[in-house]
Amino acid sequence: MRALAAVALLLAAALPSAAGELAVEAQVGYFDMAAKDSARALFGSSSGATFGGAVRYTVWRGAFVSAGLRTFSKDGERVFLLSPGGAIQKLGFPVSVELQPVLLMAGYRLHDGQLIVPYAAIGAAITSYTETSTVAGESFDTDGSKTGFVGAAGVEFGRGLLRVGAEVGYSTVSGVVGLAGVSQIYGEDDIGGFHVVGKVALAFSLGGKPKPAKPQPKPAKPKP
């Protein structure tokens, strides 16, 4: 609700700008899993590098839609623990987890067409989860996919073909994990998390050139 309110505020405060801009973005940054305790137990930390890309299209004034894919993975070892506060006993069997959220968002860019463009967006995070582990030839694999929510805000610099930017956001995707293993012990069922990414964008205009401002009629000279 807060995110929606924030977006509504941004829309209200927006300046008019051109539609029809398509941008292709490459993203690299940092992701911190919401299921922190489970991640720390298995991987030693809950965060790491994330990579991805997105396509953004400005549909009307500063309003845009975007579709993106990011990937995040962690490697560690299987553990045993009795309870959330219990000793974490590392057992030496490798385990890997990979998250791949498809982020479908709609948002608004303030001052579109200016040198510095703040923006905010919300949308759906369709996140696939893959866990692989082998213990002496036996696979302990699982996967799944669920749709959750994502909200992000960022700023983009530049007004030409090449832009750079930074974005922070948070996603929440429940129901894939927390069914077994350490995530069940910790009661953590969210495979979303916090992200901060830097991005490089190539922006193209698809015909929606901003119209030149209408020349104002010169004031009539007073007749002598």
Binding site: R78, F80, A87, V135, G137, E138, F140, G181, I185
Partner: protein
């Protein structure tokens, strides 16, 4: 100093039944030796010198031959089921080079390396010990899959508090009595123990019970000799607290526990598990206090439920911080003699020598190396064989061995080891998932299910 004859409050040994010799003439050794199946094929691996070439429909034999020759194939095998051949490449031609060359030809639909496929089979380990096939008990606890994961490490020791263990060649200077090391220990390491019955550092077995129990844990395995032990890579600490008549005192037992938990090597305490294949009908605070110290020191205490066929578990297996173990026969039924009750935690193979449920032609005792009973009665401690025993005494070392394997894998916490064994035990007698009943406790141990621990969203497998 305690004398053998000065037995005060008695701790009754639970071993029941007679020794049944496993007659070597009646037994057939395994034909094969080690049968560990460990697939180590790298992802994307393929056969060198071969390429699969799939032709487009309508390509005739002559054209195929021309293509194969120009692709530098020295021979080919055509599939009976379609226009594809397995091309044998000339020496010096790489698979990548050949794939590129064939794929560029218009009549070729595709060309690719002859990749490898393999069975998805968990690693198991079947030892080559001569009489291993008579160890139904090890199969019942999933030993071969367990060994595929963990065989035990020698830095983890199980203290066997019993009648002693035939672990050394030794002549007692006081009595001139000769003790011999049992022949089938393989590479098993012995941590220095103690004889609290005779107050010396030579806890040799003068009965046969302790050697049998210790052999269930760590008899030499995969040495083409005799029988196997469940945690054969782990070490044994022999601690003698019972005399030749199978009876000891609470005082000696408590001292034995304290010895085991305070012994250090290079600053480390090797004993992670104490095996008590013994029981008593009465509570004793001295022993209880020693057990509390053991558990507080990170040592798991495992004890026999007792062989009275009663509906209560004997001391000390009835204590909440002790894993109380009952016995099964080869049909996974409660052994007739095994005590039951709310204090029972787990069951393991204890045997029933009067049955042959596994149909191998011998009674379903638990067979291990130990001293020959008739020789012991004649005062000789140098004559060994492979003998069967039954009792909760025999079930208990299976659980101790399983716990030692978990410690070997990286478990460090007593409560975790216990919980892992209980969670993954095979429920019997209608016990609900995650629950227990008084006949089987949490069920039959399955260490192979406990060893893998947890993944992020994958728990243990049953």
């Amino acid at each position: 100093m305690l004398q053998r004859t000065a037995v005060a409050a008695a701790v009754a040994l639970t071993a029941a039944g007679s020794l049944l010799p496993l007659n070597a003439e009646d037994l057939v050794p395994r034909a094969s030796g080690e049968t560990s199946q460990n697939m180590t094929i790298a992802p994307g691996a393929f056969r060198e010198g071969e390429v699969i070439v799939a032709f487009r429909d309508g390509v005739d034999e002559a054209e195929m031959e021309r293509v194969l020759r120009s692709g530098r194939a020295s021979g080919a095998r055509r599939s009976r089921f379609g226009p594809r051949v397995l091309a044998q490449l000339e020496p010096g031609v790489s698979v990548a080079e050949a794939v590129d060359r064939f794929a560029a030809m218009p009549v070729v639909a595709w060309a690719e390396p002859n990749g490898l496929v393999w069975v998805e089979q968990a690693t198991t380990f079947a030892p080559n010990d001569t009489f291993y096939r008579f160890q139904w008990n090890l199969k019942q606890v999933g030993a071969e899959r367990t060994w595929g994961i963990q065989k035990g490490v020698s830095t983890v020791a199980v203290a066997v508090l019993d009648t002693g263990v035939a672990f050394e060649d030794y002549t007692d200077p006081r009595t001139g009595q000769v003790f011999r090391k049992a022949p089938d220990w393989g590479d098993t390491r012995f941590v220095p123990g103690y004889d609290f019955f005779n107050d010396d550092a030579h806890p040799n077995d003068d009965r046969n019970h302790g050697t049998h129990v210790a052999s269930t844990i760590a008899e030499g395995t995969n040495n083409a000799l005799g029988l196997a032990g469940l945690a054969f890579g782990c070490a044994i600490m022999p601690v003698k607290v019972l005399g030749a008549n199978g009876v000891g005192t609470f005082f000696a037992l408590a001292d034995g526990i304290d010895y085991a938990i305070t012994y250090t090597e290079n600053g480390q305490r090797p004993v992670k598990v104490i095996n008590l294949s013994l029981s008593s009908s009465g509570f004793n605070q001295t022993v209880k206090s020693a057990i509390d110290r053991a558990v507080a020191a990170g040592v798991l205490v495992v004890a026999a439920a007792g062989n009275n066929g009663a509906s209560s578990v004997n001391f000390p297996a009835d204590q909440a911080n002790v894993v109380g173990v009952g016995a099964l026969n080869a049909a996974k039924q409660k052994a007739w003699y095994s005590n039951t009750g709310p204090e029972l935690d787990l069951v393991a193979p204890g045997g029933d020598c009067d049955r042959d449920d596994d149909g191998d032609g011998t009674g379903d005792c638990v067979y291990q190396q130990t001293l020959r009973s008739s020789s012991v009665q004649a005062g000789r401690y140098d004559d060994f064989g492979y003998f069967g025993l039954q009792g909760t005494s025999m079930a208990t070392p299976h659980v101790s061995a399983a716990a030692a394997l978990l410690f070997s894998q990286g478990f460090t916490d007593v409560a975790s080891v216990r919980a892992a064994l209980e969670k993954t035990a095979e429920r019997l007698g209608g016990a609900p998932a995650g629950g227990r009943n008084d006949t089987f406790g949490y069920g039959l141990i399955q260490p192979a299910a406990a060893l893998p621990g947890y993944g992020f969203n994958v728990g243990t497998k049953k």
